[in-house]
Symmetry: C2
Subunit: 136 residues, 2 copies
Amino acid sequence: MLIGDLAQKCGLSVDTLRYYEKIGLIPKPLRDQGGRRVYDQAILRWVDFLGRLKATGMGIKDRLRYAQMRVEGASSLTGRRELLEEHRDKVRVDLERLTDMLTVLDDKIILYRKMEAGQAVDPSFENCARTEHGLQ
Amino acid sequence: MLIGDLAQKCGLSVDTLRYYEKIGLIPKPLRDQGGRRVYDQAILRWVDFLGRLKATGMGIKDRLRYAQMRVEGASSLTGRRELLEEHRDKVRVDLERLTDMLTVLDDKIILYRKMEAGQAVDPSFENCARTEHGLQ
DNA sequence: GCTTGACCTGGAGTGCACTCCAGCACCTAG
DNA sequence: CTAGGTGCTGGAGTGCACTCCAGGTCAAGC
């Protein structure tokens, strides 16, 4: 698999893949006679997992730490687990934040709909304890 | 309330508050004799809501669009509602992504713990369909 | 009256995470 | 055998979202 194929399969750009390699996020692949990168299928799982870490808010520094430990092998098992546990905690916090916000947004959207319908808004709703925002 | 007090109350830095004012995220406050910004309590609710939008992944451009519509008043009610509905959709997607990731992380953490305990890992678990990542 | 700390402005600098580019090599299809 | 597409490298450029700084003003306490 050449870099263009991998890019297509994993949804990253060729430039991003080379950038990830440069900073050490993905291992240096073998090269063919012409010096072109040749990837193994296994890279797909790793890139996918990196994408999930990123998509759930892990910055490049922590992904890099994780990648480096992964290269170190079995001796870094504990370190990797701890990093994932830290990240899990952050994910839990984010989940709560998003869940709360969903409520706030639902309330506000209802409020806006009422306003659009020309209804006078009940002040006790405007200052609804659930959102504490009313019309902003 | 001067800018330092506001900064303390809302958890943003003085610089950030001035930056937000410069780009139009928060309205220009009145000034006292000495030219210092004087804020009304009401700004707190707005800044808090902006913070929630930010903390749930809304970029500065959309926050700015929202802020500008807010200044326009009643005529922008529909626009604001639509923007919030768009954001709500994104929040829902993020919630699902985070929920999935929580499962993946839980599985991996269990796997790492087993490895740390020196247990041979059941290959059917290593390639567990839930995570499709195994040990990374 | 003077010091000290908070505030002011305009503009430069930072860190993250890519993204793009020039100029070149290589490989494959026609 | 050549044209077009893909790949290579090193390095510059981008957009976001602040953050910091110099050089100054102002107000309140001693």
